[in-house]
Symmetry: D3
Subunit: 315 residues, 6 copies
């Protein structure tokens, strides 16, 4: 991948072989009536426009945004800007051993390590039927849980973001339960592990763990209602008592706290209340850390939409 | 029931035999340490305080508010006000043939007639599996649907109020679908018939059809989420296609329209939109007709809490 | 009008004779100091830029946006895009027999048929003086009522939109009054027919029935206050009793329901309440039907500004 | 009126002759079936309950709240509290020469003096037809303007309150126009003089200048819309040009500034903007001065409802 | 203190010697013109009215609400209710060794132990000048910090409530900083220790640690602004660098988060954000635990004003 | 400065010598790798793009936006638009005697005259220590007060805008105090003179009196809190009594009135209330006068962001 470092420095006419993520792609037609692909390619170094002039009909559906590809071509110049003229393009395969971190934002820990840690919390739960309820839903989630993002645009919109977000909340929840000792840890852990699990059904993500769009059910119902229905069924299978099942469903229903953010009911017991705060704190810390990483000391960040347009100060 | 007309006119010392609804009841203790029942009795003619001095322990639990009783006693005077001294009290039985209309607010049509009319609408639905889905939930509702109120305090808080509200919406919905012909009548009817069906689970009502309180599940989840779960199950049993089931669930989810009134999503297709307006129009017409019935022509009603504290004008 | 179908397919250099609506027009100056008209032409097939190089001074004021014209010219190419080089241009005349439907959005029924139907509702009113009050204002509105749009940008912003909106509300109002029989049909019909009549004074529209802008009075007072003043005068002429005139004025004042939408008072009687809901339902149905007509089944529409940025689902 | 100073100190059994304002009055019935008047009397010294046992049928309608009466009777004691036993009662007449200031809140200047000063402002207006428009409406208002209050409960709810409020705004408006010299004084004065003139029609007041209730038209339309209609007519009679009439109507429409306070449009030119601020400043200064007069130095007032529940600090 | 357990069971005429907290006290006058004290006494067992008939002038100012007293007297009965006739009364003295916990709500740990733990956190701070800044303000707070409540009515309105609230936040803050490791612990601890320190100046409390009222400065400026001024001064004395002083002041300014709760700026860096959430979580946990302690399992609490009128569910 | 009038009319190739304000400046790189300055120049006649091809490294930092420069160059044409090719550029010096009014918006009176008038108000204050408090802060402000703007973007964002705004408020305040005579003029004047004084610390402005950006302290605390701290210190030095100092601080704290505009407390005495209204009136009059100056009679202005998107009407 030495090439990748270089494409920013290549001059017009020089050739290029590199891996890229397709960010956007569109089929266009020349004045002469020929169809071609107009692509925006990206990697950690930025973005560049590319054109593939000799494009077969199957290429038009084959190459989609958020797909990893290998490109062979050369640098051209058009209207004063550099672009890539593509000679060859193909999807990346396993053997290419491309490091996905260079192309998309990913969680800072490996999904396998995070999942193992999450299972530690699960196995520590004492309420057997509650644990089984959670277990059933994690099993149902399967592989998707390892790479699914937690959002389309907001906080934790990164590969394995959902798992990373859930695990960090478990850690913080464990800590707060040490201070507020009257909290029921089992109920809190179950609430944390399941609070966003229906995002797997609400948001479509591709094989890279990039959110592509909301599903039809996601738009019509949303992950809160979807999650409640999942818990109802899993609790039934696991034989969980009715009261605990209800409490868990209420925790999902209320965890966005405000009606205008999707919760028709506010939390009605301490574990539901804490679940909300763990969720928002983790989102805020993620967004703040990310914004400050991109800010110079002694300066303010840009206005951040997810933080009510606040500008953050970096010491 | 000639007596009932008279209790307002009886003088101190005169005896009384009459049917009443117990509005409130409390056990108190005299200075001398004896326990007695302090009751507020009511009928169409108003309310009067009553006391039952010789009260057995079982009486304290037997006589509850919103219970119909037969009273034998006499009029006494205490601190300048008339009250009833109860000699005998017993629950009303079938043979008493008491007309319940004289004691509590009831819908203007018999529950049997309304239910028959509702079944007409049901049988007119062409989508077989959608009809079966509705049928399953009506069957599950059973007898309760005949007398259940639609609310604890708000509009249609009357015996058979839920059925009356639903039927009137069906009639108005049928009419609007004649004007806006692109509406899917089957979907609209199903939405109307099921939109409040989970109020049977959200609100406890006694045998008279008077709402007593919210259930635990009603408070933790609410009839919208409860209803969605019911539809999911019934649709599964009836073999309804996934899309229609989703649309119906969305209609429930969105029918309160505003997040702060319990709908996390706003209606996303015309039938859901119309369902909301049919619901609110029927509630408004009910409240307005009720308030104007109690207002003199040329005057304004009192401020009405359910109508943003508006005062209505009676022509 | 065979030509019209073709302009999209014409190649550079080919000649063109066609009818168009001028969408936007601007006078510009060449580097050489010559003035020319830069026009955007449109019809049902889309839009194309046109230039009229030899332009007389009178042309600059003669050709305005939203005007129907006949064009003779040819296709040219500029910066890779096709445009029309205009040789001759003139306003469309009666003899051209141009079908206006091909150029602007129009109501689905003829204005004459709709007006006849509206008069049916009017003649059915039993309160003679109330009917005369409405009659006076319809007469005053005259021809403008036949083609006036109901809005500049929102719902029913189409030729004859005001009449179409009013008539549909009358139909729906008639239906609801069959269900809620305590409503005074005469008052309701009068309210519907007059609720937006002052939009004729609030919004300027051209001869095609396209809204051009708000009038000065429209901006300073708005159609609600303007309408109240009109009713006050007409009711005086017709000898309508003071109470009914007041009720009608209140219906106008309150029909937007919320202060922030222009109603300082909320409806204080059932006919005023229903008027509001008929208005909003008709607006919503119009907007939803329009958006769904442009959406593929199984998909969501774009975000709709008039519907709180909702995206609609098309079955 | 030496008696008036004394009734607070009279002992049970002592006789009393005094003038009072009837604050509340109700007809009640004794256990023995006799009807009597239960009255609350008041003057600057406070309130006391009174009973008139031998009451004729005409007395029940004759004596109303907010009426000045002369009382002859004696002090009695009932349930530990002093009350007045009325022997004779009659309405106050001119010859009694009662000083109304001792019974109700009045403006600090005589209505005649204030009206004369207002006419000074009127006569200083240079726009003849605008002056005539205002003149017509002042003439129409007639005597009522001298004593009418400006509100039922809020600021300037005192005898001649409307006149006092209007005059103070004229004074302040004159001053601000000296600083912001681009303001049109004529338009500003006209706006001030007419901004609340329709309160004469919105609020019923009795002969003492005490607001009793809102009129039917006041409730259905409100003084803003009522005032606009009055201006439209008066401007027509006076031959005022259409633009100035519109501006004046807009000033009324917008002077409450916020939709939720009754103004569907916000001010669209400086005179309308200033009118609003003069209005609110005068209301605030009145309420604050009144509250601080009742507060000890170094302390806070009670929470003031008209000032967003603020408590004021008295130096 | 065996007597204290008994006063609820004492009969009319029996004598009583006991310690009480004066909850409310008022001087009244008998019909005969004698002045007496009308007192409400309270302890852990409830409240009882008491009267001290022979009351000297100095007693009227000596005995105030929220004062601990020793009472000698007897039980009397008046209008069917028991009350205490006081023969002797005196303020509690050290030697009485009264346990204050029986009379007012207190924090669950001793102030000395909590203060020692707080000093542990202080001494662990590495930024010397920041530590000195905090130290200066704690020293200035002095003894008051040991018993001061955190509120007049809301959460932690108990003796030593301010200290208890601060310490719990320190514990939770320490925990969260273990999860979100990029947080600056020194800055966070300083923010926690000082965030409410100006409540000592905002709220007056008596020697028992019961809040009595807001101070004049508290009402005019509030503890946020007061606290900022204190930090500015202390930071100056301690020689703290300008940037850190500013950050600390900003943490105070923003810790209520929403403008309507008193923070004109929202948090602009992570430590300020976390400070807010630690504050609100501790308040919520306190209020919830308190409410649930008073609720039966399987039931809902009353509506809680401090929790948006939510009713909590007790498992 | 005859040249300045001409640059709009110069043709391609003609040479140019003129003074300009640099509005925006950016360093760019040619395809050939040479760095050049891309500048937007402006004066009262409008804006024109300029390029300085031979640019030394020091030029890149020397020439900043909002700097006055003298340009020598010629008109070139690029992509159909005229631009300036710069041959020589230098900062304006005193000897150039450039009239700044032609380049930036300035207050309509000279800063010296306005300052003298402000001192008149100051010397008229009777409360000696209050006057000294104000004096201290004015002295501390020094020269900056003469030219500082009152805002970055909003009202009075002009050279000497802060002084102009303050003086106009003093004039209007003096007038209103003549009408509302219970106002304390000294306190009011002090509040006016100091209400925005900390904008000198909140907003950075360059030597021309153009606001460049908010300071770090300005963003973290804001001019309200900054001003309170300044008053606290100055009052201490001047020996002002605690109560008056508090009142003055409260006036600053509350002068934005609404929490969402930065005031956590609303005004609690009349002088604070009036201060707010004087501030908002002066802002509104400024914005309205400015917008109407740019509007043709009989027309509406554009939507004005600072006036809730209102469009103003120009008579």
């Amino acid at each position: 991948m030495t090439e990748k470092k270089n494409w920013n420095e290549l001059k017009s006419g020089e050739s290029l072989v590199a891996f890229f993520l397709i960010r956007r792609v569109e089929t266009k037609t020349t004045a002469g009536g020929n169809r071609y692909l107009d692509i925006v390619l990206g990697d950690a170094g930025g973005e560049i426009t590319a054109r593939m002039w000799d494009c077969k009909q199957e290429d038009e559906t084959l190459y989609q945004s958020n797909m990893l590809v290998k490109i062979k071509g050369s640098i051209a110049e058009w209207q004063g800007k550099r672009q890539v003229k593509i000679d060859k393009i193909r999807a990346v395969v396993e053997d290419d051993q491309v490091d996905i971190n260079a192309f998309i934002p990913v969680a800072p820990y490996s999904p396998e390590a995070m999942y193992a840690e999450l299972l530690q919390y699960l196995s520590g739960m004492e309420n057997v039927k509650l644990r089984e309820t959670v277990q059933l839903l994690l099993t149902e989630a399967g592989e998707k849980l390892l790479i699914h993002p937690a959002a389309v645009q907001n906080h934790h919109a990164l590969r394995s973001g959902l798992l990373y977000h859930t695990l960090t909340m478990l850690k913080a929840g464990e800590k707060l339960a040490d201070v507020y000792t009257f909290l029921d840890k089992d109920l809190l852990y179950a609430g944390i592990m399941l609070h966003d699990v229906a995002k797997l059904d609400e948001i479509d993500a591709n094989a890279l763990g990039i959110a592509t769009e909301y599903t039809v059910e996601g738009q019509l119902l949303g992950h809160i209602v979807q999650g409640i229905k999942k818990i109802e069924k899993a609790a039934g299978k696991a034989g969980l008592d009715e009261e605990t099942s209800l409490l868990l469903q209420h925790m999902l229903l209320s965890h966005h706290y405000e009606p205008e953010y999707g919760s028709p009911k506010r939390p009605m017991f301490p574990e539901a209340e804490i679940l909300h705060y763990l969720d928002i704190i983790d989102a805020r810390m993620f967004d703040m850390q990310k914004a400050l990483n991109e800010t110079e000391p002694g300066n303010f960040s840009d206005k951040l939409w997810t933080l009510n347009n606040r500008r953050l100060y970096k010491r």
